[in-house]
Amino acid sequence: MYGKGLRLLSISTVAAMALALSLVFFYAPLDADQGFLQKIFYIHVPMAIVALCGFIIGALLAIAHLRTRDPRWDMRSYVAIHMSLIFAVGALITGSIWAKGSWGHWWEWSEPTLVSFLIVFLLYATYQPLRFAIEDPERQARYASVFAVTAGAFVPLNFMAVRLSTAYVHPRVLGSTSNLPGPMALTFLVSLGAIGLLYATLCKYELTAKHTRAQLRALRRRLLGEGQDATKPRSRSAAPSVAPGATMSAQAASRSVL
């Protein structure tokens, strides 16, 4: 079900990444201030934007889960946040490398943009331990959705607070002060699209893998009989444990069996 269109999405991502890298290194002009070092901009900023958007998408999917109580939405919300965390790690590392080359040190504690992004990252870093701490799958999904909605609302608030604050060394992008020349703006937009496609593809891969594994588990249960599986204790996991195709009643039924 989730694997549909995966091949086309994967090919589009590879093509977009290849195009973005070609534009970055062969088309976009060198920055007057930072020279070649500014090439980091084309992956650092898109990764940060995609990570933040992913957190918001996770919150929207969590709202859908709270409204419908359908575990598939919880699975999607989990995957969106999980993948955003990986992209946020990438944004933090590439940002630190850029800071070292540009400012001479890895981190600037007085810069609101950096610190606020770190706060958002650390906030979401507690999402997995929160899920892991709750054994009951239904309660785990509900609490995780509430967390995702609350933390997701914090992301745009945080973004606005940073906009209103004084910038020290970190430039503000996508604002009225950003005057990217045409070739640079085009390269940036293509890079943003490529990173966005990469995010979507990895999310789809993750969902497909989880769905396949859940189907396999259901098949094993059916072939080996319910009794044999019932003797095994259910291993605790931070990931949603219900097949994406299952409904809430099926989830309750599986819990009663286990």
Partner: protein
């Protein structure tokens, strides 16, 4: 302060900036590669489990699985 810092900072020469740019792009590809490696491990696990299930389905009732000691009385099959 920021404008002063950025304005005064001269552009790094290519041989100096190159290593930072390379490091940043390597981070991106390393993340993707690590993810692909994890997916490969998951896929091989799914393949192994599917193989086990297939073996269980194809095995005639009462015949012990590979590595399992044969028993005197045939065990009741749960694969029905």
């Amino acid at each position: 302060m920021g404008a002063i810092v950025l304005g005064d900072a001269p552009a790094l020469p290519l041989h100096e900036a190159g290593k930072y740019v390379a490091a940043a792009y390597i981070v991106l590809f390393a993340l993707v590669l690590i993810y692909v490696a994890i997916m490969a491990i998951r896929l091989s696990r799914i393949e192994r489990e599917l193989g086990e299930l297939l073996e269980g389905v194809e095995r005639p009732a009462g015949e012990p699985a590979a590595g399992e000691a044969p028993t005197q009385a045939p065990r009741e099959s749960t694969l029905a």
